[in-house]
Amino acid sequence: MDEQDLKLDGNAAAGLLRELFAFELTTARGRCENCGAVAEVGAVSVYANAPGSVLRCPQCESVLMRIVSNGGRYWLDVRGISWLEIRA
């Protein structure tokens, strides 16, 4: 098994994101800070095999978001996203 097999997509992070956000985030659109690509969160690459979940840009594979949770605390790193457009 190589890295390719471990790739999931935004759907796989939907439950986790739902713990943190009031709105459905997989249908939100976000812009990659690195390459400028805009994608729905459901379509981004997700790697859940790390100690936490890593969301990557489907175009350039740079890190969009990292989420680590442990015992009721969450660490959220969103520096790879310029903006999110969330449909309420």
Binding site: D5, K7, A12, E19, E40, A48
Partner: protein, 252 residues
């Protein structure tokens, strides 16, 4: 007030208990769990639930399972493939009995969702148990009486591994706008008329709608999804028309 009660009220996505009402053997490795979930909020075809098991020592394991039932169905159903080295699926597929309670939360996801109002034509491509959310879409389509032109391409190892085979046959036979094609990758029965190889560009060209019309939903193991999604784009689908859900290598 107990902390759990406060969290339960604040959390937008609370864990709840469902009772196993019925177990259906689909194939030798696949079982459908029909669940009675009080206060179920309803769902859309394509969404999933998270299932959580807790061991006596407090260890928890959590997995996502696509919802198999249509929104119109009375009870919630998930279809589970047993993965021998899995932590969760062997319990769900082998040890669970009618009446048992199961901890779940959902419905989850909004990206890999199809509702009749979205129209078509609809191309559904499933690999293995990746067919489950696609069948939820077919059931939703049938229950609503919609005449959206739809084609399902279903890749499985053998005919014995095909989930919902009878139902798919029935649906296709009674509906001119629905076609079901199979690709059997490892073993084919004598006289097999369907595809007998892994899904490739040529197959996609044959089953897809002309000039990449409408919407495509692709679900299955990661590699399968990548191949199919790339293939659809190669034959003329715009990336925005293709929605994917990758199951990954384990899921188990």
């Amino acid at each position: 007030m107990a902390r759990a009660a406060v969290l339960g009220r604040l959390s937008r996505i609370a864990w709840q208990l469902g009772a196993v009402a019925e177990l259906v053997d689909e194939t030798a490795r696949v079982k459908t769990l029909v669940l009675e979930v009080p206060d179920w909020a309803g769902h859309r075809a394509g969404q999933h639930v998270d299932v959580r098991l807790t061991a006596e020592d407090g260890y928890q394991a959590q997995r996502s399972y696509s919802i198999a039932s249509a929104p119109e169905d009375e009870r919630l159903a998930i279809t589970v493939e047993r993965l021998d080295d899995g932590e969760v699926s062997p319990y769900l597929a082998e040890e669970l009995v009618v009446g048992d309670k199961l901890e779940l939360r959902g419905p989850i996801g909004g990206y890999f969702v199809w509702e009749v109002e979205q129209g078509g034509p609809l191309l559904l491509v499933g690999g293995g148990s990746g067919v489950v959310p696609l069948v939820a879409m077919l059931r939703h389509r049938a229950a609503s009486g919609a005449r959206v032109p739809t084609r399902l391409l279903y890749s499985a190892r053998s005919l014995e591994d095909v989930i919902y085979r009878e139902e798919l046959g029935r649906l296709a036979a009674s509906d001119d706008e629905l076609e079901v094609a199979y690709a059997l990758t490892r073993e084919q029965p004598a006289g097999w008329m369907g595809y007998a190889r892994r899904v490739d560009e040529e197959i996609l060209r044959e089953v897809s709608y002309p000039s990449g019309e409408g919407l495509a939903f692709v679900c299955g193991p990661t590699r399968f999804v990548e191949t199919v999604a790339d293939g659809l784009v190669a034959i003329g689908y715009a990336p925005e028309q293709v929605r994917t859900e990758r199951f990954g290598p384990t899921g188990g």
